[in-house]
C-alpha cells in the first residue's frame, strides 16, 4: 500500500530556521550596515602585505628624514614620528587587533560554555559553586586585574625561559589573559539556556532512555544554546578589542614594533600637540570596529528572538 504524499500546507515550502533568521537580520538596517563595514574592515586589514609590496613600503622601515610627512602619493596618510607609513601600520595593527579579538573570544567562549553547561546541567552544589566563582570574577575590576596579569613574571609560573623571551609571547599573553577574565557573560547565558533545556520533556525522555551526559550535552543542550552564544560572542569580540587596545595603550599589551591600534595611540599621546591626526586615525578605527560589532550583536539578538520572527 502506498501512502499518498501529503500536500504542503498553503503552498509554503518548509524553510530552514536559519533562512528565516537571515531574512529578519537583513531587514535590521544597523546590523546589515555593520556587517558590510566589518567585511570591508577585514579586507582592509588583511590586504596589508599586498598593499605593502604594491607600494614598495615596509611596515617597520624608519626614515628620520621623512618624519611627520603630510599625506602624499606614496604615504596616503603621511608618516609618523620616525617616518613609518601610517596607513600601512594601521592595516597591520588592525590585523593584530582583529586576530586577538577573535582568538580571545573563542578561548573565552570555550571557558564560558564549559562553566555554563556544567553549572546548568549538574545543578545543585556544582551549580552554586560555579556561579559564585563567576560572581567573584565579575566583582574584580577588569582593567586593573588585566594590568596585573599582563605584568606577571611568567618565569615564576615555571615556564621555560625560551618561551618567556620569545617575541610572540606578548601577543599570546594578551589573548590568554583576556580570555581568562572575559568569559562570565557567556557562562551566565549558557547556564540559563541549559537550565531551560535540561527540564524539557524530550530531554527527560532521552535521559530515561539511558542517554549519558556527554551525549545529552552534545545532542540536546549545545545546539539549543548556540544562538545566545553567538550573540554574546559577537558582543564579546567588540569588548575584547577595546580591552586589548586599552592594555596596549597603557604599555602593557602587545609590545612594539608590532603595531596594534592601541600601541599606535600610546605613541601618539606624547605627540598630541605636534601631530594630532596620529591620535585620531587608530582611535577612529577602534571605535568603528567596536560599534559595528555591537550593532551586529544587537541585530543578531533581534533575529534570533522567536518573538520577532515575522514571516
Amino acid at each position: 500500500m502506498t501512502v499518498p504524499a501529503l500536500p504542503t500546507q498553503g503552498g509554503h515550502r518548509s524553510r530552514s530556521i536559519w533562512i528565516d533568521r537571515w531574512s529578519v537580520l537583513r531587514r535590521h538596517r544597523p546590523a546589515m550596515v555593520s556587517l558590510m563595514v566589518l567585511v570591508l574592515m577585514a579586507v582592509f586589514c588583511f590586504s596589508a602585505s599586498a598593499y605593502a609590496s604594491w607600494m614598495g613600503l615596509d611596515v617597520n622601515a624608519t626614515d628620520l628624514m621623512a618624519r611627520f610627512n603630510p599625506p602624499s602619493e606614496t604615504n596616503l596618510l603621511g608618516t609618523d614620528e620616525i617616518g613609518r607609513d601610517v596607513l600601512l601600520r594601521l592595516m597591520y595593527g588592525g590585523q593584530v587587533s582583529l586576530t586577538i579579538g577573535v582568538l580571545a573570544t573563542a578561548f573565552g567562549c570555550a571557558i564560558g560554555v564549559t562553566v555554563g553547561v556544567l553549572a546548568g546541567y549538574l545543578g545543585g552544589r556544582a551549580d552554586s559553586f560555579l556561579m559564585r566563582a563567576t560572581d567573584c570574577m565579575i566583582a574584580l575590576p577588569l582593567v586593573p586585574l588585566l594590568v596585573i596579569l599582563a605584568a606577571i613574571d611568567l618565569g615564576k609560573l615555571g615556564l621555560p625561559p625560551e618561551i618567556v623571551q620569545s617575541p610572540s609571547v606578548s601577543f599570546w599573553r594578551i589573548v590568554i589573559i583576556i580570555s581568562l577574565v572575559d568569559w562570565t557573560t557567556i557562562a551566565r547565558v549558557v547556564r540559563a539556556g541549559t537550565l531551560t533545556i535540561a527540564h524539557q520533556d524530550y530531554v527527560l525522555a532521552a535521559r530515561v532512555s539511558g542517554g549519558r551526559a556527554p551525549y545529552m550535552i552534545g545532542i540536546h543542550v549545545l545546539p539549543n544554546v548556540a544562538t545566545p552564544i553567538i550573540v554574546a560572542a559577537t558582543l564579546t569580540i567588540g569588548r575584547v578589542i577595546l580591552l586589548e587596545s586599552t592594555l596596549s595603550f597603557l604599555g602593557v599589551g602587545v609590545m612594539p614594533p608590532t603595531p596594534t591600534w592601541g600601541n599606535m595611540l600610546n605613541n601618539a599621546q606624547e605627540l598630541a600637540s605636534t601631530a594630532p591626526m596620529l591620535a585620531v586615525y587608530p582611535g577612529l578605527l577602534i571605535f568603528l570596529t567596536v560599534i559595528t560589532f555591537n550593532f551586529l550583536g544587537d541585530g543578531l539578538r533581534v533575529a534570533f528572538d522567536p518573538r520577532s520572527q515575522q514571516r
Partner: protein, 317 residues
C-alpha cells in the same frame, strides 16, 4: 528578612576572604621580590645579608604562611609599607581614595540622572527618531575607548581651546574650590560618557517593559500626562532591576577610573594601582586591588538587600 540578610552578609565575608587569598597569590607572581628590590644597587650586599633579610621579612616561608601573616597584620590595622614611595600604604592610598571618591560620586550622580532622563525619553516611543538618536548615542559611548576620548578632549579642550587645565597633578589644596573643580571637569565628563552608555540601555529596556503593563494603561486612560505617568507610576518599578546592574557596574567604573586617572594625572586609586604594578610596589597593589574588589562586593550586597525594600513583592527567604 533578618536571617536572609545575615546569611547574605556571612556569605559575602567568606567570598571576600577567598578573593584576598587569590589576589595575594596573583600579586606574588609579579616580577622581582621585595628583598631584591630593597637591596638593588647596594654594593655592600653579601649573600648572608640577603638570607638574613629574607628571614626577617619571612620571604623564605611558604606562600600560605606569608598570607596568614599578612592577614594578621591587616586585621590589626597594619597595611604595610610602600616600597616605591617610602611611606605607609595608608598614607599612599588614603589621599588617592579621596580623589577617586570625588571623581566617582560626581560621575555616579550625573550619569544616573542623565540616563534616567535619556532612557525614559527613548522608551516613550521605541523605534522613533528620539529613541534612535539616544540608542545610537548609548552605543557610541560604550564603543569608544575611554583613553581615546580622553586624548581627544585633551587635544581639543586643553591644547587647542585652553578651556581646562590638562593635568590634575598641579592641584593643591590652597586653590579656590572653583579652580580645583576645573581640573575635574574633563575626567568627570569622560568617565560619565563611559558609564551613561551602559545605564541608558538598562533604563530604556526596563522602562519599555514597565510602560507596557496594565496599570500604566489605566493611568493613561485616566488622562494623565506622560511625564506624570513616568514620574509617579513607572519610574520606581522600572528602576528595580536597574539598581543591581548599576551596583555591579561599580567594578567597571573602577576600570574606567584607572584609564581616566592615568590620562588626566588624577592621583586616585586607579592610577595608584597602575603605578604600583609598574614600580613593583606589592603592598600598594595588593591593598588597592583588594579595596576595589571589596567595594564592588559591598555594592552588590547592598543592591541585593535594597531589592526587598524597593519591591515588597520579592520575599526574601
Amino acid at each position: 528578612m533578618g536571617r536572609y540578610s545575615l546569611r547574605r552578609i556571612a556569605e559575602a565575608a567568606l567570598v571576600a576572604l577567598i578573593m584576598s587569598f587569590l589576589l595575594y597569590n596573583l600579586i606574588s607572581l609579579l616580577p622581582g621580590d621585595p628583598v631584591d628590590l630593597m637591596l638593588e644597587g647596594n654594593p655592600s650586599v653579601t649573600p648572608e645579608l640577603v638570607a638574613q633579610m629574607r628571614a626577617l621579612y619571612g620571604d623564605n616561608q611558604p606562600l600560605v604562611q606569608r598570607y596568614w601573616h599578612w592577614l594578621g597584620n591587616l586585621a590589626s590595622g597594619d597595611l604595610g609599607y610602600s616600597s616605591s614611595q617610602f611611606k605607609p600604604v595608608m598614607e599612599v592610598l588614603g589621599p588617592a581614595l579621596l580623589q577617586t571618591s570625588k571623581l566617582m560620586i560626581w560621575t555616579f550622580v550625573i550619569s544616573i540622572l542623565t540616563s534616567i532622563v535619556l532612557g525614559s525619553l527613548a522608551a516613550f516611543k521605541p523605534g522613533g527618531w528620539i529613541d534612535n538618536v539616544i540608542s545610537f548615542f548609548a552605543f557610541a559611548c560604550v564603543s569608544s575607548p575611554a583613553y581615546w576620548v580622553a586624548l581627544l578632549f585633551l587635544i581639543v579642550f586643553s591644547v587647542k581651546l585652553q578651556w581646562f587645565p590638562a593635568t590634575a597633578t598641579a592641584i593643591d589644596p590652597d586653590m579656590g574650590l572653583l579652580k580645583q573643580m576645573s581640573y575635574f571637569v574633563l575626567p568627570i565628563l569622560t568617565l560619565t560618557l563611559f558609564s551613561v552608555g551602559q545605564y541608558v540601555r538598562y533604563v530604556r529596556a526596563s522602562m519599555i517593559e514597565t510602560l507596557a503593563s496594565d496599570y500604566i494603561r489605566t493611568a493613561r486612560a485616566k488622562g494623565l500626562s506622560r511625564i506624570t505617568i513616568v514620574r509617579r507610576h513607572a519610574l520606581r518599578n522600572a528602576l528595580v532591576p536597574v539598581v543591581t546592574l548599576m551596583a555591579l557596574s561599580f567594578g567597571s567604573l573602577m576600570s574606567g577610573a584607572l584609564v581616566v586617572e592615568t590620562m588626566f594625572g588624577v592621583q586616585g586609586m586607579g592610577k595608584a594601582i597602575y603605578d604600583a604594578v609598574m614600580m613593583k610596589d606589592f603592598n600598594v597593589a595588593m591593598i588597592g586591588m583588594l579595596f576595589a574588589t571589596l567595594v564592588t562586593l559591598f555594592a552588590s550586597l547592598v543592591a541585593d538587600l535594597a531589592y526587598g525594600w524597593l519591591d515588597p513583592r520579592i520575599s526574601l527567604k
